[in-house]
Subunit: 412 residues, 2 copies
């Protein structure tokens, strides 16, 4: 019998206990041994919980308990979770987590600490909720050189965008509905501004490319500026707006970014709706492989945590760890140096004059018309070096015929 | 250094050699050791091949070579491939294959033989080409009770159906194009009649449910009877025709079948086009997870084979095998006992009389009209026990007003 401990009895932590309880016979069969939750650390009281008998407020009940070999960290954040994780690994206990912030921030250090102590640090649940993605990249695509990743990695923002597009709700209305349904937190900044997607693409890029991709250096734009009118324009263009996280490996570094894009409706990720996530991985032998499913939620995320636990149990004698190296120098390329094309909306006083001005500034464009928005000038640009192009677009408002850049969204 | 041998230098076998050659540094890093192809067995000559120096016609160069620890079997079929696989396993060599026919037919026996010899028998490439699916089910979803699988598992038939729907080609024309493009074999029966999908769903079901699902007992219908008119009717119904393989686990057995279905266009698998495969796996914790990618082809399939090789190399000291048990009795449930609903087209002499007759026989139906097909009677049925319903539909031609059942396709 393998005894485990859970630190943090929130949504995911209690889900892990629930999955282990409900699927015990399946889990025993797959792991080859019984797995039981022995201790759960949380500062709160849970007297009526089915796990009440395991609850403790004393960390040493876990760290100094030699019978506990695996610790599940589901506190979140990079504060106390970091301390507890280091302590567990140092005590020779493997750690499994869904904590993307901690992995994205301290991954290399914790993986090294695990290796030094001959235990494992695993985090399948940190990206894509229950969708298998980290293990497939590391194992199933191990024969490939991974060259790129493209994903809808955040369920909250995808839900909001789906509601806007399909039900004509505006951003704040759709966000409120997401909060009411438990899909968005009271403070939705991390989701809405793209920080959550940014941490996840950093983790996926680090494991795929074999060296640390620092999330703090990834250009990140969220969806809070996306309006219903933008959605309608996208529709006219045969596109749909998605918050896309992407990274590509080049010989001299990594091109990575998180931003809303107008995606062609025929793209495989265009049909990923609601709280679902979709992740495409490109390998030089396999081509494109896509993984799709619920990117969050109690039981799906717990499913991924427990899969890691089973993996550790099955391979106790031969845990060979993945470690991503620290880059030798700056490895994040400047997105300004890459070509991109954009959809732009301008508030204008004289449409014809504005059009002439824009064409003089940036050359050929395609004007887009939308019923009810005849007063503004909307267009798509050709592909051009992003740094200069964006500078030019931002300077349009200096023209006497253009009062404002209403929005600009990248075309994928 | 790990030396491997390849038996059968066809599309997949030569792809394995190519991937190992081209991605050697990635593979060495992931495996922790160099992997080289030492011998390739084939009765044919390949003097100009980059692998010419490895070629042999003498099986003992492999089986009696103690330096070779892993054998890749890419001959196909359940004849000589079966003999070679048994011999390799008995000699203490792990075997990796893409041979779905052999796995579906002799899987349990070969897995047992591998276990007895403390080696591995792995076949990720047997289903879904390069798409990770077997390892994700066994490892990433190990915390789940898997309750069902739904998949487009054959790229050839999906290509044919896509060409019919999108380009208005008829079945034989689309099939010819598939053959010209190398997507269908000269004798396309195994693909077109659903046998290939049947073996694949049998393998996925066996590993997911933990006991042998015998492909010979799975009801299988192919796509050779699907016409362009059927496609157009599907479109009117907001559906698309796909060859779907499915299985569901019940307390008393497994419901499994392969057949063309009319799938709602909003279904996640409806947008899987051309030679791509899509596989949905339902687990009681994760919900639905979908895997998507190129279901066949030289390098994608080789990618999956090499992933198995790396897995064996990394876990040599602790290969814990999956084995699926033989069922205690008959475990395939009779599809006739389950409810289903159908789309039906009838050739009629008197449409009104035929309609009255049909409604008297099977109750409420929804008539479907298609421009240019006003003479026939087309409709969808309500859901009803399949055995009786199909019997009734097949007997329609006994009525004096109905001359023929033109087609019947299940609605999903």
């Amino acid at each position: 019998m393998i005894k485990i401990a859970i630190i943090g009895y929130g949504i995911v932590g209690s889900g892990v206990a629930e999955v282990i309880r409900n699927n015990s016979s399946n889990i025993s069969e797959n792991a080859g041994v019984d797995i039981v939750v022995d201790k759960i650390l949380d500062v709160r009281d849970f007297e009526d919980s089915p796990d009440a008998k395991c609850m403790t407020k004393e960390p040493n009940d876990i760290f100094e308990n030699p019978e506990i070999s695996i610790v599940v960290e589901t506190i979140g954040g990079a504060g106390i979770a970091f301390e507890f994780t280091k302590r567990a690994l140092s005590c020779g206990k493997s750690v499994v987590t869904s904590n993307k912030e901690l992995v994205a921030t301290h991954g290399p250090e914790l993986l090294q600490l695990a290796q030094d102590n001959h235990v494992a640090y695993m985090f399948e649940a940190s990206v894509g909720g229950g969708i298998p993605i980290i293990r497939p990249i590391l194992q199933c695509l191990a024969a490939n050189k991974i060259t790129g990743i493209l994903g809808i990695l955040n369920g909250t923002t995808n839900y909001v965008l789906s509601k806007m597009r399909l039900e004509g709700k505006d951003f704040s209305e759709a966000l409120k509905e997401a909060q009411l349904n438990g899909y968005a937190e009271a403070n939705p900044t991390a989701d809405v501004e793209g920080h959550d997607s940014c941490r996840k693409i950093a983790i996926l890029s680090s494991i795929s490319f074999g060296e640390m991709v620092d999330y703090r250096k990834i250009s990140t734009i969220g969806i809070s500026d996306i309006s219903l009118a933008d959605m309608k324009y996208a529709d006219v263009l045969g596109r749909t707006i998605k918050l896309l996280a992407m990274s590509r490996r080049y010989d001299n570094g990594v091109y990575a970014r998180v931003s809303p894009v107008m995606l062609p409706k025929t793209h495989s990720l265009a049909n990923v709706e609601d709280v679902f996530n979709g992740i495409m991985v490109r390998g030089n032998a396999v081509g494109d492989a896509m993984f799709y499913g619920r990117g969050a939620g109690k039981l799906p995320t717990a499913s991924a945590v427990v899969a890691d636990i089973i993996d550790i149990v099955k391979h106790q004698e031969c845990t060979k760890m993945m470690v991503w190296k620290m880059p030798k120098g700056e490895n994040i390329l400047d997105i300004k140096d890459f070509d991109s094309k954009w959809f732009v909306r301008l508030e204008v006083s004289n449409k014809l004059a504005a059009l002439e001005y824009v064409e003089k500034e940036i050359g050929e464009i395609s004007v887009v018309s939308l019923n009810g928005y005849e007063d503004e000038l909307a267009f798509t640009t050709l592909s051009s070096k992003e740094g200069k192009l964006i500078e030019q677009i931002d300077s349009f408002a200096d023209s006497k015929d253009i009062s404002k850049v209403i929005s600009k969204i990248r075309l994928y």
